[in-house]
C-alpha cells in the first residue's frame, strides 16, 4: 500500500486503469440493462417490478463498499498519514452518498407497489438512512474548516466512528424481524435466486463497481491537481 503513497506513481497506474474501468462499466451497463430490462423473466409474484432490483441491490452493495473503503482509508490516513488515503475518502464520499440515495429511492419505489408503503421504519431502512446522513455529515465536516488538513482529520475520525453502522446494516435483517427480506445472494449454501435473474444482477454490480472506479480515479486526479494548485499559489504568495 505504501508503494502507492507517491501520487505520481499512483497516477501512472490510475491513468492506465481508467479507460479499462470506464469501458468495462459501459459494456456491463449495456449488457446488464438489456438482460435486466428485456431478457430476464418477470418474477412470478412481483411481476415486472422485480427489475427495480437490478438497480437497487448493486446501489446498496456499493453504498456499503464505498463507506467501508472510506473507513479503511481514514484509518490509513490517521495511522500512517498516507497522503492519498484522505484524497480517496474525499473523492469517494459524494459517490457513496449518491449510491445510498439511489438505493433508498429505488427501494421506496419498489416498496410502494410491493409492500403497499413508501417507507417503513424497520432496522434495515433506518440503518441505511443513518448511513446516508453519515455521508452528508462527513462531507459537511470536511468542508467546514479553513485549514483543509484539519477538516480531513476530523472527517477521518467521524468515518471511523460511523463504521459501527456498517455491520449493523449488514446484519440488521438477521438480528431483527424486518419487512426487508434477508440476503439472497451472499449467503451460506449459495444464492437462492434463479440464474436468469442472478446474471443481470451480477453484471449490473460489475457495472456499478467499474463506474465507481472510473469516477473515483477522475475525482482523485482532480483532488491532487487542486492540492497542487494550492501549493503553487502559496509558493507564489511568498
Amino acid at each position: 500500500m505504501h508503494r502507492f503513497a507517491n501520487p505520481a506513481r499512483f497516477l501512472k497506474i490510475a491513468n492506465a486503469v481508467l479507460p479499462w474501468a470506464a469501458g468495462l462499466s459501459a459494456v456491463c451497463f449495456a449488457a446488464g440493462l438489456y438482460l435486466g430490462l428485456f431478457a430476464s423473466p418477470p418474477d412470478y409474484q412481483q411481476g415486472d417490478t422485480v427489475r427495480i432490483m437490478y438497480i437497487h441491490v448493486p446501489a446498496a452493495w456499493m453504498s456499503m463498499f464505498t463507506y467501508s473503503t472510506m473507513a479503511v482509508a481514514a484509518a490509513a490516513a490517521l495511522v500512517w498519514k498516507h497522503p492519498l488515503a484522505e484524497v480517496y475518502a474525499k473523492a469517494a464520499a459524494p459517490l457513496g452518498a449518491g449510491f445510498t440515495a439511489l438505493c433508498l429511492l429505488t427501494g421506496s419505489l419498489w416498496g410502494a407497489p410491493m409492500w403497499g408503503t413508501w417507507w417503513v421504519w424497520d432496522a434495515r431502512l433506518t440503518s441505511v438512512l443513518v448511513l446516508f446522513f453519515l455521508y452528508l455529515g462527513y462531507m459537511a465536516l470536511v468542508d467546514a474548516f479553513d485549514d483543509p488538513a484539519r477538516g480531513n482529520k476530523a472527517g477521518n475520525i467521524l468515518l471511523l466512528v460511523g463504521a459501527v453502522n456498517v455491520p449493523i446494516i449488514k446484519f440488521s435483517v438477521e438480528w431483527w424481524n424486518t419487512l426487508h427480506q434477508p440476503a439472497s445472494v451472499f449467503r451460506l449454501g449459495g444464492p437462492t435466486i434463479a440464474a436468469s435473474m442472478l446474471w443481470p444482477l451480477l453484471l449490473m454490480a460489475a457495472a456499478f463497481q467499474s463506474y465507481f472506479f472510473a469516477v473515483v480515479i477522475l475525482r482523485i486526479r482532480a483532488g491532487l491537481a487542486a492540492r497542487r494548485v494550492q501549493t503553487l499559489r502559496l509558493g507564489q504568495a511568498n
Binding site: 433506518t126 455529515g137 465536516l141 479553513d146 482529520k153 476530523a154 475520525i157 467521524l158 466512528v161
Partner: protein, 218 residues
C-alpha cells in the same frame, strides 16, 4: 481527573446560566406538546416516552456546543492536553462533568414532567432508569461531535447534523424499553442493549474524543 471534573462543575455553578438553560429548554419543550397535540390523556400517555426522550436528546445537544468551546477559545484546553493526564482522561472528565450538569437534573425533573403527560405513576422508576442509561450515552456521543467541530465554521449547524443520526439507536432502544413498560411487557432486553451500548461507548468514545481534541490543536 477528579479535580478537572470539580473545576468544570465549579465553573458551571458560578455562571449558572448554561446548565439551567438546558434544563429550562427541556421543561418548556415537554410542556409545549400538550398544546400541540391536544390535552387528551390517552394520546399524552401514548406519546409521553417519545416526547421526554426527544426533549432530553435536544437538551443534551443544546448544551453540547459549549462543552469544549470555552476551553478551546481561552487556551485552557491546550494546557489540559499538555498536562500529564492523557487526552482520553481529559475527555472522560469533561463528559462526566457535562453529564452531572445536564443529565442528572433531567433525571430529577423528568418524573414530574411525566406526570404532567399522564404517564402512569408505576412507570416512573422505569423512566428514570432508562434516562439514567440514555443520558450518559447522549453526553458521550455528543462530545465526539463537539470535539470534531471545534473551530469549524458554522459549528452550531454542523454539530446536530453529525450527532443526531448517531443518537437514533439510543432513541430507538430507550423508547422501545419505555413502550414495553407501558404495555405491560418486560423492558429488560431493551435496557440491556442500552446498557451494552453505554459500556461500548464508555470505552470507545473517549478515544475518538481524544483524537479529535488532538487534531484540533495541531
Amino acid at each position: 481527573m477528579l479535580r478537572l471534573i470539580l473545576r468544570d462543575l465549579r465553573l458551571v455553578l458560578r455562571q449558572g446560566s448554561d446548565a439551567t438553560a438546558a434544563l429550562m429548554f427541556f421543561v418548556l419543550c415537554v410542556v409545549l406538546f400538550p398544546f400541540g397535540v391536544g390535552p387528551e390523556p390517552n394520546i399524552l400517555t401514548r406519546i409521553a416516552p417519545g416526547v421526554l426522550l426527544i426533549a432530553a436528546l435536544l437538551a443534551a445537544l443544546l448544551s453540547m456546543e459549549r462543552l469544549f468551546q470555552g476551553d478551546f477559545e481561552d487556551g485552557s484546553l491546550e494546557l489540559l492536553l499538555l498536562s500529564p493526564l492523557p487526552a482520553e482522561g481529559v475527555a472522560i472528565a469533561k463528559v462526566a462533568a457535562h453529564w452531572l450538569v445536564t443529565g442528572v437534573p433531567l433525571l430529577i425533573v423528568a418524573p414530574l414532567l411525566a406526570l404532567l403527560l399522564r404517564m402512569p405513576a408505576d412507570q416512573l422508576g422505569l423512566l428514570v432508569g432508562t434516562l439514567a442509561l440514555a443520558t450518559p450515552l447522549l453526553s458521550l456521543i455528543g462530545a465526539v461531535g463537539a470535539a470534531l467541530t471545534l473551530g469549524a465554521r458554522r459549528s452550531g449547524v454542523l454539530l446536530p447534523l453529525l450527532v443526531l443520526p448517531l443518537y437514533i439507536p439510543v432513541l430507538i432502544f430507550a423508547a422501545a424499553g419505555l413502550d414495553a413498560g407501558l404495555s405491560g411487557l418486560s423492558p429488560r432486553p431493551h435496557l440491556l442493549l442500552l446498557g451494552g451500548m453505554l459500556c461500548g461507548a464508555l470505552v470507545l468514545a473517549p478515544l475518538a474524543i481524544a483524537a479529535a481534541l488532538r487534531a484540533a490543536h495541531e
